[in-house]
């Protein structure tokens, strides 16, 4: 089955990320995002015949897709929950494209969001909630700091193998902040950031500084994926799904084949191959940015620069919306916050906004092709998309 160009993104929505849930629950947030995305697609709720959701943050995950469908009073021909950590949102869009390409659904709603406080992963309970049995037994006794220490291990190894510097990594957060200043939805859009400020922020898990780490928050986001031929009636220019790919080599980073050669490479290669394009053809990229090192590794692994050259590449490339390779022009999660699983949807949504020409003051000039990557766990699950504008 030929998949490229069979599905298009016709609707998007993103609630402003909030520092707390303001008394709302995941279901409420999802319902708000659903209404806005369906409206954006020019559809009625009754047009939705597919539902893909990411897991809840506080309710039971048992029968979660049905819980969401019941709240929304949607009666889909196919429904499911996608749990790939940070890659879940992009994973929903991938699977929605499959469902519409296969003719199972016409309009598939991808819903993501949740209620997270700042300290969601900080204490033992928070850390244990996202650890496997093996991690609890063989890793926790040594005092790992969850995702922070996992990515710190990767950053340290990258520095050792390739001479990557803290300054180079810090610049990623700085460039993203320049774009975030023009994003009214970003939690951190009040003032510019400098490399010195990033490096002066506390070293949380050496070599990672506080301002290189996402801040968990609350929010929701939604995407409507439609069969390509029906997308032509949509009010906004449809964004075609040209290619997609996924890959996974491990759950815990302890058992990753490598800290610097990651499954991102294979996932991106699959997406580019399906789309029949190369990294150099991209006008912008939206890369999962739980930490600065994640962006650097993704640029290398997806082929935007040679492996090991990421540090020098980001140092010499303007990654802001005005730059040679606009990257995370919404500010990324590093400036917007990470509203649970919807953090990963923000990368899809910003790429769609840019390709539609709806990015306002941070609009990039060339807007034909975008690469999106979702990343889950510690460089574990990967879900990539190549998107095309009209």
């Amino acid at each position: 089955m030929q998949l490229s160009r069979k599905a298009s993104i016709t609707g998007i929505s993103e609630l402003p990320p909030q520092k707390d849930g303001r008394g709302l629950r995941t279901l409420d947030l999802l319902a708000q995002a659903a209404r806005l995305a369906i409206e954006d697609a020019g559809l009625l709720k009754s047009d939705i015949d597919g539902l893909l959701v990411t897991p809840p943050s506080e309710d039971t995950a048992f029968m979660w897709p049905a819980q969401v469908a019941e709240y929304l009073q949607i009666f889909p021909a196919s429904l499911n929950m996608v749990e790939l950590g940070g890659a879940s949102a992009a994973g929903c869009v991938n699977r929605a494209a499959l469902l519409v390409a296969a003719g199972i659904c016409r309009h598939c709603l991808c819903l993501s969001g949740g209620v997270w406080g700042t300290r969601v992963f900080n204490d033992r309970e928070g850390k244990s909630a996202v650890m496997s049995g093996a991690e609890l037994e063989y890793e926790l006794p040594y005092g790992p700091m969850g995702f922070n220490s996992g990515y710190a291990l990767a950053a340290r190894r990258h520095m050792h193998e390739y001479g990557t510097t803290p300054e180079q990594l810090a610049k990623i957060a700085v460039d993203q902040r320049r774009s975030a200043l023009l994003n009214p939805l970003a939690l951190f859009n009040q003032s510019a950031l400098t490399v010195e400020e990033v490096l002066a922020s506390p070293l949380i898990v050496d070599p990672i500084h506080l301002l290189e780490i996402v801040r968990p928050c609350s929010g929701a986001a939604a995407v409507v994926v439609s069969r390509a031929e029906t997308a032509l009636d949509a009010p906004c220019p449809p964004v075609a799904i040209l290619g997609m790919g996924e890959a996974c080599t491990h759950d815990s980073i302890v058992y990753a084949p490598s800290l610097t050669a990651t499954p991102i490479a294979l996932s991106a290669k699959r997406a580019f191959a399906m789309a029949g394009v190369k990294p150099g053809d991209m006008d912008l990229v939206s890369l999962y940015d739980c930490y600065t090192i994640t962006v650097l590794l993704t640029l290398e692994e997806a082929g935007f620069c040679p492996r090991g050259e990421g540090g020098r590449f980001v140092a010499s490339t303007d990654l802001s919306f005005q730059g040679a390779l606009p990257c995370n022009t919404h500010g990324g999660q590093l400036s917007c916050g990470q509203p649970s699983y919807a953090g990963g949807m923000s990368h899809v949504i910003e790429a769609v906004r840019q390709l539609r020409g709806q990015a306002g003051k941070r609009q990039v000039e060339r807007r034909r092709l975008a690469f999106v990557n979702g990343n889950g766990g510690v460089l574990s699950t990967q879900s990539s998309l190549v998107l095309g504008g009209d």
């Binding site: 033992r124 063989y138 040594y142 700091m145 340290r156 949380i204 898990v205 050496d206 058992y255």
Partner: protein
């Protein structure tokens, strides 16, 4: 033996010995211990004592710990250790000045007692 593989591992640790699961079909050690060999999925694997020699693959220095039992222990080194047997495990590097700590440095097995449990950790050793 597979029924009690976690107990076996812990019992050996209690006596200051690090043993690894070894699959005779695959002729490879693996970690963490589990009922079936992760390479061939067969159950008939064996235990073998580890040499205790390895290298630091990577490390991070935890300066702020959210775990109660580590609050007084910061800064401490959380590390990935590549053992000579070809397995990688999470551990700590102890008794090592920060100035000499680096990826690829040779280390050898040592033991600490934490929360009443004897845990394999690693200390620097002379290169080979």
């Amino acid at each position: 033996m597979p029924e009690s593989f976690i107990d076996f591992f812990k019992e050996k640790c209690k006596h200051g010995e690090l043993w690894l699961p070894y699959c005779p079909h695959c002729q490879k050690a693996f970690f963490y211990p589990r009922r079936q060999c992760p390479f061939c999925l067969a159950e008939g694997w064996q235990w073998k004592p580890a040499s205790g020699r390895g290298r630091v693959y990577s490390y991070t220095i935890v300066r702020v710990s959210a775990l109660d039992e580590f609050r007084g222990a910061t800064p401490y080194v959380y590390a990935l250790i590549d053992l000579e047997e070809g397995v990688r495990l999470a551990s700590n590097v102890v008794d090592c000045p920060e100035e000499i700590l680096r990826p690829d440095m040779p280390v050898k097995l040592a033991w600490v007692t934490r929360e009443g449990r004897q845990l394999p950790v690693f200390v620097p050793r002379d290169g080979d």
